[in-house]
Symmetry: C2
Subunit: 368 residues, 2 copies
């Protein structure tokens, strides 16, 4: 790690993407209460609260925005009471991250032509917060100087088809913690991801991006002109009383695409800061398992009402006052809430989504 470079807090902004729906942590996470609003790891903070706090330590709170689905506004308002209401941006419908990022970038571009923006998911776990913050500061220093698209890259440890793969090249002279990017490949299949890993010079995309809003809008104009133009046409209505009704119409027409597929695979001005802050995107219970406190038989239990005997390597999480007696089981995920219980073998976790189709068919959406 090189020394931290100077950045300009007053022109530095953050947008926390908090509109995602995720039932990978079912039955704790639900469509109407997804994981960013939960304290999955029992830390005392929900994931979005931890995300906000991490940025507040080096970005002025008035420069931090949350963008989320309309339905989640009351939860965000309740969980982040220090955030001003105008910093909580409501999306009328779910149109993926390209829309969210273009929307907030268009707003900020009206307020501050030099706005330098960190884009961060609301639901990631960051192990070493100081390192993360230093990476962000150095990123802001770099993107203030150049019209580039910068991402924080994570050491790729195994073939995994759900991440973006970054094939990096040389260090940048004068900003040696930044590397040029040859290719950004979103979610390759497992064989391709294995090939990349073996070839070396590969990082995973963390989902944390840094860029000037002007650079982002430039990239959108070039690679996603229809989305860009929808927002560009209404830019003078943003930050005014008619913003909400205008945005509702924009979202109706807007394509749903992730920022990675929208621009990162195409752009030639992509750069990466290799990071080692222990990142976990908490994709599944099995991912979370690695981060839980565990007993001597490697059971991750969140409650003193759980008694596990002859059992190992289980995630056992209870969210009501029920007594649990667990005996002779291994590698299970057992999660209990007041209205639902899941007992699932770890190696079947990826099929939980299919189980939900059965739930939906038999019970409707009320449990999801």
């Amino acid at each position: 790690m090189k020394n931290t470079k100077p950045y300009q807090p007053s022109h530095s902004y953050v947008v926390i993407l908090a509109g995602g729906e995720d039932n990978n942590f079912w039955p704790i996470s639900r469509s109407n209460y997804p994981k960013q609003f939960l304290d999955i790891l029992n830390t005392g903070e929900t994931l979005i609260q931890a995300t906000l706090r991490r940025f507040q330590e080096f970005i002025p709170t008035e420069n931090i925005y949350v963008i989320t689905l309309e339905d989640y506004i009351p939860i965000v308002t309740e969980q982040l009471p220090k955030l001003a209401q105008e910093n909580i941006i409501s999306e009328p419908e779910r149109k993926n991250t390209a829309a969210s990022i273009t929307y907030i970038s268009s707003k900020l571009n009206q307020l501050d032509k030099d706005a330098n923006l960190i884009v961060a998911p609301a639901d990631h776990i960051i192990g070493d917060e100081k390192t993360f913050q230093d990476n962000c500061k150095n990123g802001l220093h770099f993107t203030a100087k150049y019209d580039v698209l910068l991402t924080l890259g994570i050491e790729a440890t195994h073939p995994d088809s759900k991440y973006g793969y970054i094939h990096f090249g040389h260090e940048i002279v004068g900003d040696e913690d930044v590397l040029e990017v040859y290719q950004f490949i979103e979610k390759p299949d497992v064989d391709t991801s294995r090939m990349f890993l073996e070839a070396g010079n590969i990082l995973w995309n963390s989902g944390v991006f840094i860029w000037k809003v002007s650079a982002l809008l430039q990239a959108m104009a070039e690679f996603q002109p229809s989305i860009f133009q929808l927002f560009d046409k209404v830019k003078r209505s943003l930050n005014t009383s008619i913003e909400r009704s205008v945005i509702k119409q924009v979202y109706q027409k807007c394509a749903s695409i992730s920022i990675e597929y929208a621009i990162m695979e195409y752009a030639r001005n992509v750069y990466v800061i290799p990071s080692n802050f222990k990142w976990n995107d908490l994709g599944t219970w099995t991912h979370a398992y690695e981060r839980f406190q565990k007993d001597s038989l490697s059971n991750a239990m969140n409650d003193s009402n759980i008694i596990a005997k002859d059992s190992s390597n289980c995630v056992i999480q209870s969210h009501d006052k029920k007594l649990f007696v667990i005996g002779g089981v291994h590698d299970l995920i057992i999660v209990n809430t007041p209205d639902a219980l899941m007992v699932c073998h770890k190696n079947k976790e990826s099929e939980v989504k299919e189980y939900f189709n059965a739930v939906k068919q038999e019970k409707g959406n009320s449990y999801l």
Copy 2:
């Protein structure tokens, strides 16, 4: 099966032993609500209700008694409303079956010197009720004629150290469905039980006994004189207003021993009726599993709120309205009640009692 022989209903009595405490069906069964009062198999009747009904079909209801621990009297009264209060006998403390049977036999002996008594556990499952009833009638016919101790024997199918083993001999001339018994061995170890099985001419003791109360008291006098004398001394106070206070003192002094260990292993006048009425003593969830309705993957589920995928050979029983999603598990016992949940591998079920020691230590008795 031979033809049914005549018996005298007016001198025929039943005592249903209902004082047992059993937490093998935890968390459904509890110390204060043991399994005889539960409808484990979801038949619409609790086990004791089914037991009473089976006898009511051939024994006058006024001749049917239930003997149980004082604490369970309200449950018995509620579940068996057709039984007169004087037919529900209260035991001041738990002193095992020799005491219970000597007590009711002493009472009946005061009322009817020819009383011919069927002793039956409250918590057994009988598959073919007609055959069972015919066996009982033939037993009553036989014990009315002879001063013998008769038991119903069950085909022994595997080495099991928790049953009594009956080594039988010849048929009785004139009562060909009755066999003489060479030896009654209560709960041999598994190796011995295997040896018995291989030797042949072996039946399991069903726990259903038939005898004249005079024959039973004679056997108690011979093999357990101290217990016999405790009850014999107070026999004139039985069926009077001072019975309860007298019995309280008797029970304080009475040894705690099962009827099998007390007399069946010693007596030389033991006989057996081989029966094939599909008997199940519902000792454990695994025993009960055999009797449950099962889905195409052999899961025994009691509730439409249970969705099981990629799972097989499980007992999944829910007793609250919670949605269950079960995925990728096999051979598990999953039982849910409003205040407790058990997830246990079938091959660890015998260790559940040890788990309870942990519960007791950590949570006290309230969950047991």
